[in-house]
Symmetry: C2
Subunit: 201 residues, 2 copies
Amino acid sequence: MENQDKKRILIIEAALKRFAHYGLSKTTMTEIAKDISFSKALLYYYFPDKLSLYVSTIEHLMQVMSRDLVRSIDKTTTSTEGVLKLLQKRQGYIQKYYNLFESNQFIGNDLPKGLNDKFQRARTFEAIILSSLFNRGISSGELKMEDPKLATDIFIDALSGIHFNILTKDKNILPGKEQFKQIFIKERMFAEIFLAGLHSK
Amino acid sequence: MENQDKKRILIIEAALKRFAHYGLSKTTMTEIAKDISFSKALLYYYFPDKLSLYVSTIEHLMQVMSRDLVRSIDKTTTSTEGVLKLLQKRQGYIQKYYNLFESNQFIGNDLPKGLNDKFQRARTFEAIILSSLFNRGISSGELKMEDPKLATDIFIDALSGIHFNILTKDKNILPGKEQFKQIFIKERMFAEIFLAGLHSK
DNA sequence: TTTTTGACCGTTAGAATAAAAAAGTCAGAA
DNA sequence: TTCTGACTTTTTTATTCTAACGGTCAAAAA
């Protein structure tokens, strides 16, 4: 049914607003339902449980993000330019939907399996994009590296290190605009050095 | 007194063993005292409180470490060689005394001030060593960079990112030998690329 | 006087329990 | 087939309780 899909999306969009703002644990099904004047039971008609809704919401956002990302990157020419574009987009989304990924931030948390898988897929997707950018650079003669897979991996680890260290330095639990700006500056600087290190002489 | 110092060190060494194995919160003053057949009250004669003992223990280890590090690095010639030596030593100590730094691993924990300061100083010390290695490279014409301070910072952030991501990927709480080996490989690879990116053409 | 101790006290981390709130179900209405 | 209000079950939170721990001190030992 057309209508069914519309309602599903309505729910997902309401959920996205709540989850993005309050995170998984601090938003209730009742709240989401009230926001769009549905009964809570109706949410359970469309989604088997809360986690499914959460996962669907993330999936939804990921699709939007990945379309946007691919489109933006296709417009770039050099791989360096592409990587910088990736950083910029990435940064924007992380900042906007920070609380949506709260669960991903902490250690030793046993997220339910389906959830962990989704985040894993997001990381993999990122790695693939980055990898393809690196490969583009290799075939154009711009870059040179032994093990593109490993290089990609290290690049992503390093990014998250920069991210993490800045966000944990200031003890503010909710990161502010200033901090994200700082992260972006460092990440860009890092990318420049790293890519220079991969440049074919 | 000579003897006083000896006892202080005896206590510190016993504390180091416990703390390195079990971390701060999971070792008690009574245990440390029993290990060397002292009364608990005697520990409080030599150290005002538990935290002071912990800090002294870390201070003690840091002195040993830094002497060792400086000595090793002075033996190297190029800055690249120096950085790789730093990584190797660093890795060894982190692995051996992993639990000693447990408190440092987690987010949003309000470590007592004196403690935080010590860790801050450890990081600063590391940054200074690294910075001096970079500067060595610059003056020898080996390296070239706009902002050595920022480059150092990014380098350290990236290292901790690699560290962190490997240790949290496998859900084992206690990291094993294999994981540390993996970290070292990645860190070395990273250092090579990063330093290549800083090489003067 | 300096060093050492056993007995003691106040605080706190963790277990156990109770209360509140949320997740999730279902018979039946629209 | 879609939707709901009333219901049950599960999870989270608040509370109490207790044992263990950090820390003190008067007095003994050296």
